[in-house]
Amino acid sequence: MVSNSPKFVVLSIDGVPYDLLSRLIEQGYMPNMATLVSQLGMRKMRSVQPTVSCVAWSTYMTGMNPGKHGIYGFIDRRPGTYEIIFPNSATRATEDIWQLLSKAEKRVFAMNVPTTYPPQPVNGIMIGGFLSTSLEKVAYPAGVGDYLRSIGYHIDSDAALGRSDKRAMIGDLHATLEARMKVMFHFLNEESWDFFHTHIMGTDRINHFLWGKMVQNDPEFAPAFFSYYHRIDEFLGRLLEALPENTPLMIFSDHGFCPIKYEVQLSRYLIELGWTYALGKPLHPLSIDPAKSRAYCLIPGRIFINLAGREPQGVVSIKQYQQIREQLAADLLKLQDPDTGDAVIRKVLMREEVYWPTGSHGTHALSPEQVAQADATFGKAADLIAIPYDGYDLKLGLSDSAVFKRTELEGMHTYDDAFMVARGINLSMDNLEIMMLARPILKELRVEPPQDMDGSEDAITPIF
């Protein structure tokens, strides 16, 4: 144990489902986790809609729903254009826990949490997440980058290997993990941090690219899958040893995973039904013909109405807005698995059903016209959010010829089975969701949450 011990520790492990973790514990791959879970228990936790890491982590770190923080996906449309932008920490509308704690003069450390690039100034160290572009720019303060370079830090494993060379991908995932853990232990003992958060991303990658092989017990890749988790457990053991037994601790994931039946090219479906018209040669996800398209979509399942007065060449009038949304929802719900005839879309939510701009959910009765013309962060949301049944991964495919396809991706995200293992912190007993974590963290460190922070009893996401 070390003389400098942090007051609150978070180890987040991206995309690890409750059920998988239970199985890994049961089968002996994660003995340290098993001990911890036997002492503290483990709970299921809900993620966000749409269920992607950048939205989930933005929701965690702000304690607010996307209608307030404004991060809805990895790609968004630049408001008032048909251009794409990549949302990041600089485009987020509200402060995160590291900024709030910094203002209260708490010492904070964060490493590799998605959507923390570019690193915002904090009272401590902020090392950006997997979309950080270089070691020069990955960290605040910048000098930390020199240390990272000196130990051979990897910002992220090479995702392209998942498609081209899975064996190389595993080596790369391990190298990335080893370097990350080295940095974690280096800084853990450096001073008495108030809040110390390290994020592991590789689990999401290995789940995306090897889930099917794990399930099928592939002779090479299933053992590789399990030994990656085992290695994480070894690091967890070292971390627990380095902390006093009562240090408040949260270990959790941001979403679950399940096998992919099909990647669903939703743009292609919208094209077939005459909602979207692609340009001759789509150059990017918004290469649509705005003069003809009544709607268009972004990954995953985010559908925008091409609304006159809001979009530069909108064709749907405000009067038709609600009717068009309902027609679209009905069309989406008709989509069927080509083999089994099973429905693909479980639910289509209107933006106001899942997000709220201020206060708590349901406190603002907005007319469809007000919803359509909302501004600020809430107004950036998709008009409709399609939620698939597990197994149908909603993609784009503006230039694809088929709606249903399979690629190297084997696993997809799920909403309601993230896991949470917590020690020394009081979490809500009901309907735990990732949006509910910022408040208890601040409370534990005696920092007053901002007034508009969600995650309290009346500001939670409804269950759909």
């Binding site: 992607v52 996906g73 990895f74 790609i75 630049r78 251009e83 990549f86 997997f130 979309l131 572009t133 992220d156 090479d158 995702a159 392209a160 998942g162 498609r163 995306h208 990647e263 040669k281 789509p282 150059l283 990017h284 996800p285 990954i299 991964d393 993609k395 784009l396 230039s399 690629t407 991706l409």
Partner: protein
Amino acid sequence: MDRLDELESQSIYIIREAYYHYKKLAVLWSIGKDSTTLVWLCRKAFFGKIPFHALHIDTSYKFPQMYRFRDEYSKKWDMQLVVARNEEAIAAGMGPEKKLECCTALKTQGLKLAIAKHGFEALLLGIRRDEHGIRAKERYFSPRDEQFKWNYQDQPPELWDQYKNQADEGTHIRVHPLLHWAEVDIWRYIKREQIPITELYFAKDGKRYRSIGCTTCCNPVESNAATVDDIIHELETTTTSERAGRAQDKEDTYTMQKLRALGYM
């Protein structure tokens, strides 16, 4: 006269000025879109047959498509082609593991050797002002010393088309007939004149090269632009990333590649 006619006529004027002033003149041909356009303009300036050398600095790491293109069109256009290679450095194993040293040895040193060997007084180069911030300070006629140093704080004024074209002893003059062209002008002109161009610029499997050089140090960009028209459209519609500057372009490209690999694009 439309914009392309103006650009063309200004460039041809400069090319003819250079030919008038320098006995030993060469056009530097990298096989890329800009220098191929420059070669095209040289042909036009002299009615099809270029009366001076074309110089290709061959690092030995160029794309095979570039070598094929060079050999085909140097023959077709009846060019006096000089291929210069720094054989000594190549034989000594110089390669892209050492990026800066490699460029210095194979490109800069290769060019120096060629200038010394052939005694060129002036070189025509296809650089453009919009390529890079520092090039905004370039002149149409730009003196270089023996060490190739370009003193950007001491550049002669070029007013009313009066160019400083007297080279001091031991120096050579670089002439930049395309300085006033923008990237999209080049493509519009390529389209109008139907200038042949290497296929590397056109998208294959969602990627194309926006500029080309050595295989080892060039990365394709994400693009579906498979024809000259597509490229013009792409350049016309991606003004934001152009304005955002090169580093930003690189960041966006990096982000896109990552998101594509993960299936988010």
